[in-house]
Amino acid sequence: MSGNIAIKVEGISKSYKATKALENINLEIKEGEIFGLIGPDGAGKTSLFRILTTLSIADSGKASVNGRDVVDNYEDIRRTIGYMPGHFALYQDLSVEENLNFYATVFGTTVEENYDTIKEIYSQIEMFKTRRAGALSGGMKQKLALCCALVHKPDVLFLDEPTTGVDAVSRKEFWAMLSRIKKSGVTIMVSTPYMDEASLCDRIALILNGKIIDQGTPEEIRSHYRNRLYSVKGNNMFQILQILSPLSGILSCSSFGCECHVAVDDNGPDEKSLLATLESKGVTGCTVERINASIEDCFIGLS
């Protein structure tokens, strides 16, 4: 990794009427890395993407992509970036092939010229090339959109929630594709509401209500977690949550699938006293185990 800055965001703020979408965002994204912008719906991810892809203008602050300012040099940026919006933005009434050819031509190239870049992904949907894009399945639509974003060999790729609404297998495949694209030297900025995808990025930023609440490598963010964390497993999750939440010294108590993560401050209860509390209230057969924080725990801890 060269370590040069590919995307620089300095003090970007943006509001829509009374709503503050982004507040003083500062980010530095290095060349050739996968940078994840992680946050729930409505956190401001798409607003930031639109500013960086020159589609909207920030109220204040500066941003640059490949050293070019997003406002002054927007035409240069448009030549060198690939963008995949959060919604399916290809022409539904055009076939797979027609969509790809159209985007290749519009970006001043041809599919043949850059076939190597997209070969791996395109080969998976090539058998449907005469099918209308609107008739593709979700996973295939997403592959086609990625092909269209890559067809002109961009230096920087912006992917806005590419895995939202896609099944688990396709999501996994998609991330595998991203790491292969990264190998060819493309900087990738990707947003996602799924915390489990965070560990697949080189560096991440957590965004909530328009503010960056933490950033760094996934390990760094996990190491920022200051509290003790226990995983409580049991049969009656609802009851466990109800019993533990009001206890003093407990910061948060949230359900994670079939277990419950309990964050405890320095003076809070330990494993034994948690278990004892549960048993005294008649909840038996539980296990309590101290665990390391995941990104989601960090997110809950920070929010």
């Binding site: 448009r78 919006p85 970006f107």
Partner: protein
């Protein structure tokens, strides 16, 4: 340049892959012309007229006979009481009835005066008006004959001799063809263009297109070109229909007419672009075009109601409708055979509108998302 071609061909694919769009763009104009030309006509053909009176009366016979010979009128039934007459008009079997008084011929010859009344169906005032004026015409020409017979000399009464220039047969297609042509070109250029741009905004495809290096000006141009081409096709087909089916002549220069149409198409494209800039959903665009452009064009351009009889405020408002000027020019060039010198005022207004609308809407076109 390749980029523009890709854009334009993509636009054509959108039009031809959506059956509804294709229908609107290519079939609707033909249907409209035929509808307005034939079905929606203000002329009344073969109106049925009943007669209530004594058929043995020579004068009554003579009038009935000339009504029968009139190409617009037709004698229905000879009735003998007023109830039957009411019944037939109410059932719509007759448009009008003529009631002669008893001893019509005798009174006319002895007293020089006899009365006949025309009863017509006022539920449809337009047709009633037209039919009764046809009947009056027949009766007054009969009256003239009688006067001539009785006085033995020249006409005792004075009759105006009406001559209609350019359209002696009072063919209503002469009015509708220029009007519908304006309406069609306007509809295709403004409504279809604005909807096609707004659809891209609504579906989010505009987002990707804007991120591309293609300059917004070329995006606009490639959006407008297909509708320009379709307008040319429609213009030609409307002219062909007008000449060969409606028998409307092209008395002036076709080149001049085409130039005027091109300028009008330009101003309509500008309007469409403007609508697409201010609306964010296809419904808004449709409503704006339908209520804001098509309705005023139909009502205020002189297509249905003459501009001269409108209140002053509406007359001023009608002046800002490009279609009004287009229709005036087309009537002058096509029907009257006027040359450039007699349409120079209207043509300059239309050109000014085109330049302003195109300039303003291209300037307002957002190169980013709002």
């Amino acid at each position: 340049m390749k980029e523009i071609f890709a854009f334009i061909s993509k636009e054509f694919m959108h039009i031809f892959r959506d059956r509804r769009t294709t229908l609107i763009v290519l079939v609707m104009p033909v249907v409209q012309i035929v509808l307005f030309g034939f079905a929606i006509s203000t002329e009344v053909h073969n109106a049925v007229v009943d007669v209530l009176g004594d058929m043995s009366d020579p004068m009554v016979q003579q009038i009935v006979c000339s009504i029968e010979n009139n190409e617009y009128l037709e004698i229905g039934k000879i009735l003998d009481n007023p109830d039957q007459m009411n019944e037939r008009i109410r059932k719509g079997k007759a448009m009008a009835a003529l009631c002669f008084e008893n001893g019509f011929d005798r009174k006319l010859n002895s007293e020089g005066k006899a009365s006949v009344s025309i009863v017509s169906d006022g539920a449809d005032p337009n047709s009633a008006q037209i039919v009764s004026s046809y009947i009056k015409g027949v009766i007054s020409s009969e009256q003239l004959n009688i006067t001539t017979q009785m006085t033995g000399g020249g006409a005792a009464t004075m009759r105006p001799n009406v001559q209609l220039m350019y359209n002696p047969a009072m063919n209503s297609s002469y009015n509708f063809v220029p009007g519908v042509m304006g309406l069609i070109l306007m509809l295709i250029c403004s409504m279809m263009t604005s909807v096609s741009i707004v659809r891209e905004k609504e579906l989010g495809t505009m987002e990707l297109v804007l991120v591309s290096p293609v300059k917004p000006f070329w995006i606009i141009l490639s959006k407008l070109t297909p509708y320009l081409v379709l307008s040319v096709i429609n213009f030609i087909s409307v002219l062909l229909l007008a000449v060969f089916v409606m028998d409307v002549p092209i008395n002036g220069s076709i080149t001049l007419l085409s130039l005027v149409a091109l300028i009008f198409v330009g101003s309509s494209l500008g309007l469409g672009l403007l609508v697409s800039v201010i609306s964010s959903t296809q419904q808004t665009a449709m409503l704006l075009c339908g209520m804001g452009l098509t309705m005023p064009t139909m009502m205020l351009s002189g297509l249905i109601f003459p501009c001269e009889s409108m209140p002053v405020a509406l007359q001023i408002f009608s002046d800002i409708i490009p279609a009004k000027w287009f229709i005036i020019i087309v009537k002058k060039v096509m029907i009257q055979g006027a040359g450039l010198s007699s349409i120079i005022k209207e043509l300059s207004i239309l050109t000014g509108m085109m330049v302003f609308l195109l300039w303003f809407s291209i300037k307002k076109f957002k190169t980013r998302l709002s």
